[in-house]
């Protein structure tokens, strides 16, 4: 076995707890952070951590395919988010100038991005979800999967669902969807999907990433100012 492959395989022997802690952190950042850059970095880290967990249940090559698919999704989202941000800033600038011209006043400050919920609310909600995770994991453990990986699946699914409920904006909701699908992917490994199944799942990840990026761009074609 190649040295780097051996090194990576050894990661699989890590207990699920460090990975779970890492996933708790990354998913929480995705949910709580208001800047898409933090969210994307957290998503990237999340995919890598999920890949490490995949190593426990899949052959190395298949796990690598899953990680690569996830990692490739992040640049797609990045470019989409960059374009959206620049467009929004451009439109905000135009509107500020129009307001200033109408009122003959100095340029007003740029408005803060408005989100339906504040960071504190999301933080508290995430904490609540953590408690839900604890109680669900102890009372209704996920069957067919190792006990130390199951909480990771549940956590990712909960956070993903929470983000989908929280917002209908394509980018954050899309990241929530990808988070949920990551958690599902872990559980699906027990079904023995094989090469074709893993290939299709990875293609799904890529297509979903592409679709989410597209929707994020389309969403911003209204001309509305953030």
């Amino acid at each position: 076995m190649l040295p780097w492959k051996e090194l990576i395989s050894q990661l699989a022997h890590l207990s699920g707890l460090p990975a779970l802690i890492g996933l708790v952190c990354t998913a929480s950042v995705i949910a709580i952070a208001r800047d898409w850059r933090f969210e994307l970095w957290a998503l990237l880290a999340q995919y890598i951590l999920v890949g490490v967990l995949h190593l426990r249940m899949l052959p190395f090559e298949l796990a690598l395919v899953r990680v690569l698919a996830g990692v490739l999704v992040c640049p797609m989202l990045y470019w989409a988010a960059r374009w959206v941000e620049s467009e929004r800033a451009h439109k905000a600038q135009i509107e500020r100038q129009q307001l200033a011209e109408q009122g003959q006043v100095p340029l007003p400050p740029l408005p803060w991005p408005v989100r339906p919920t504040s960071g504190m609310f999301v933080l508290l909600a995430v904490l609540l979800l953590g408690m839900v995770l604890y109680s669900v994991s102890s009372s209704f453990p996920l069957p067919f999967i190792d006990a130390d990986i199951a909480p990771a699946c549940v956590w990712l699914a909960l956070i993903g669902l929470f983000m989908l409920v929280l917002t209908s904006e394509p980018l954050p909701a899309g990241m929530g969807l990808l988070t949920m699908v990551s958690g599902f992917g872990l559980f699906f490994d027990v079904m023995g999907p094989g090469l074709v199944g893993i290939g299709v799942l990875s293609a799904l990840d890529l297509i979903m990433g592409l679709s989410i990026s597209y929707l994020a761009i389309v969403r911003d074609l209204t001309g509305e100012v953030l």
Partner: protein, 601 residues
């Protein structure tokens, strides 16, 4: 292909093709024919209808391909008995006459009118209920289109259009539901009975009375009401009575009285023959109440205005009220038919020829012929013998007196007296008002005749106006002639002959016939005497415009519409909230509630 034009489909197709062609032409070109094209198409339609007479009682099946669609029973077909054919002839022929009276006026909305007439024929000839309902919807849609295209001004006055169309189409829906419920017993999904009686009686109900059958009858009663659309419902006429958008073209007015009345009569006859509304007897009083209100309101409206045009349009309300009265009394079909034909022909003759009074000159006896059509119409409305109105009135009064419906009788007689008095005021009042205009016209004609200037004179202009005037008069005269012809020979309508109606005449009926006429003449004389006696005191007459406004019930419709709009806003807002950004939260909430429910169990 040409054979289809010899059948009952022929007039329908002629009118629809004419509508399509004129609509396309109107979109690209400015009409130059001054209404001649519409009159021509209607003439073709009338001719085609006359040719189709030979196809009476022959079913024309046009829905054979529906069998492939899995329809059970007999496929849709057309059929026309003698009476149905006559109704169709009155509608199309009357509209043709009215179109002649509309020559020289704007042609907007003509495609819709022709399409509505074609659909009305389809309604009359429908041999099955599915076709009838479809035709109903087409009639309403075409009328709405015609009235919308015919509006002169943009904006305003749409509420009546919406209510009338919505309620009328709702009638079609109600009838459809009633028939589908009624057909359930026969196992046919489309209400197409497999037992088709050539006399067009389709039995809708089988077996014992059930809740469903009572509901069917109620829906049938409602459907007739909505087809007739009388007061207090927003009538078709009210759409055209907006001050900013007054519709005074004869053809529109004739269609708006002929189509609702005759189609409503036909529907009532079909339902009555099939026994569908027999169980709805308890709701016939609704018809009587509407009829009484309509008669009273018509009378008040006729006397609350000085505008002769508005007085004449009151005939429309009277027509619907009388028909409803007959339906509410459960008259025999052969007694209802002359009522409907009478009101339609009389109203049509009035609409077409009441303006001829402006050419009446007191000094010229020959000019008195100008008002003969209007007088004949008035006499027919009054029910004098030798007009079709006599058969209409005789049957109606006979039933009322036999049934002891004294209140209805008094309301009818009072309403007739007031309306006819007002109409007399209009018809003969124009003579006085136009006396100076008539003199001016004489003088202008004398000047033209004595003109020595070789320059091109306005003679062609005057000649065209004269021709139009004569054509308008001829149209009214033809309608008046039809009234008299049917009065002489009511047997043409497949109803009892003149002698039979005369046989119904008793002293009370004779008195009931004469009293409204006497009352009308007395009212007219009181108005035109040197010291005229006001029918209503001046204090009340001053409230005339307000009374008219209140009685038009616009305020009621607006109130209902306002309430419905608020309800609609609440529904809209609720759907926006649920379907908005928080949709997934709602989904999660519902799922959690369901989970809770399942766990509790």
């Amino acid at each position: 292909m040409h054979g289809v034009f010899l059948t009952l489909l022929g007039p329908v197709l002629v009118l629809w093709v004419g509508a399509l062609v004129l609509d396309l032409v109107d979109r690209f070109l400015e009409p130059q024919d001054r209404g001649g094209a519409e009159a021509f198409v209607l003439a073709l339609g009338t001719a085609s209808l006359l040719v189709a007479r030979s196809q009476a009682n022959v079913p024309i099946v046009f829905g054979q391909f529906l069998a492939a669609a899995g329809w059970t029973g007999m496929p849709p077909f057309l059929i026309a008995e003698r009476t149905t054919w006559i109704l169709a002839l009155i509608i199309v022929g009357g509209s043709w006459m009215a179109s002649l009276a509309t020559l020289g006026q704007p042609t907007s909305g003509r495609a819709g009118r022709l399409a509505a007439l074609g659909a009305a024929l389809l309604f009359l000839f429908a041999g099955d209920w599915a076709t009838l309902i479809l035709a109903w919807a087409l009639v309403d849609l075409a009328l709405l289109y015609a009235l919308a295209r015919g509006r002169r001004t943009d904006g305003g006055g749409h509420e009546g259009l919406g209510w009338t169309g919505a309620l009328s189409l709702g009638g079609a829906v109600a009838l459809g539901i009633a028939l589908l419920l009624g057909q359930q017993a026969e196992g046919s999904a489309w209400g197409i009975s497999s037992r088709v009686d050539m006399a067009v009686s389709h039995a809708l109900l089988q077996g014992t009375v059930t809740g469903s059958s009572v509901l069917v009858a109620a829906l049938g009663v409602l459907a007739v009401l909505l087809r007739l659309m009388p007061f207090p419902l927003p009538t078709w006429q009210t759409i055209t009575e907006r001050d900013s958008d007054r519709e005074d073209r004869p053809i529109v007015r004739v269609m708006l009285v002929a189509i609702p009345c005759l189609l409503g009569l036909h529907l009532w006859a079909r339902l009555a023959q099939s026994g569908a509304i027999a169980l709805g007897g308890r709701w016939f009083v609704l018809w009587l109440i509407c009829a009484g209100m309509g008669l009273a309101v018509t009378a008040i409206k006729a006397w609350s205005t000085q505008d002769p045009d508005q007085v004449v349009t009151c005939v429309n309300g009277y027509a619907g009220a009388v028909l409803l009265l007959g339906a509410g009394l459960a008259l025999r079909t052969d007694w209802m038919l002359p009522i409907g034909i009478n009101v339609v022909l009389s109203a049509s003759a009035l609409y077409v020829s009441w303006t001829q009074g402006q050419y009446l000159r007191v000094s010229n006896l020959r000019s008195y012929w100008r008002i003969v059509p209007s007088l004949v119409a008035l006499l027919s409305l009054a029910g004098l013998p030798l007009t079709i109105g006599f058969a209409a009135r005789a049957g109606l009064y006979k039933t009322m007196l036999a049934g002891g419906k004294w209140l209805a009788l008094i309301v009818l007689m009072a309403g007739e007296a007031l309306l006819m008095g007002a109409l007399l005021r209009v018809i003969f009042g124009i003579e006085g008002a136009s006396h100076e205009e008539g003199q001016a016209l004489e003088e202008s004609e004398q000047v033209d005749a004595a003109a020595v200037s070789p320059a091109p004179s306005p003679a062609p202009e005057t000649g065209r106006i004269r021709w139009m005037r004569e054509i308008h008069y001829g149209a009214g005269a033809a309608l008046a002639a039809a009234i008299v012809a049917l009065g002489f020979a009511p047997g043409l309508l497949m109803i009892p002959g003149f002698g039979s109606w005369l046989g119904l005449l008793t002293v009370p009926i004779f008195a009931a016939l004469l009293l409204p006429i006497v009352g009308a003449i007395a009212l007219y004389r009181s108005q035109t005497a040197e010291n005229p006696t006001q029918v209503f005191p001046a204090a009340i007459m001053g409230w005339g415009p307000l009374a008219r406004r209140l009685l038009s019930l616009d305020w009621a419709y607006k109130l209902v519409e306002s309430i419905l709009q608020r309800v609609g806003s609440v529904i809209w807002a609720t759907t926006q909230v649920v379907q908005g950004a928080g949709y997934m939260a709602w989904v999660l909430l519902v799922c959690l509630v369901v989970l809770l429910f399942v766990l509790m169990r």
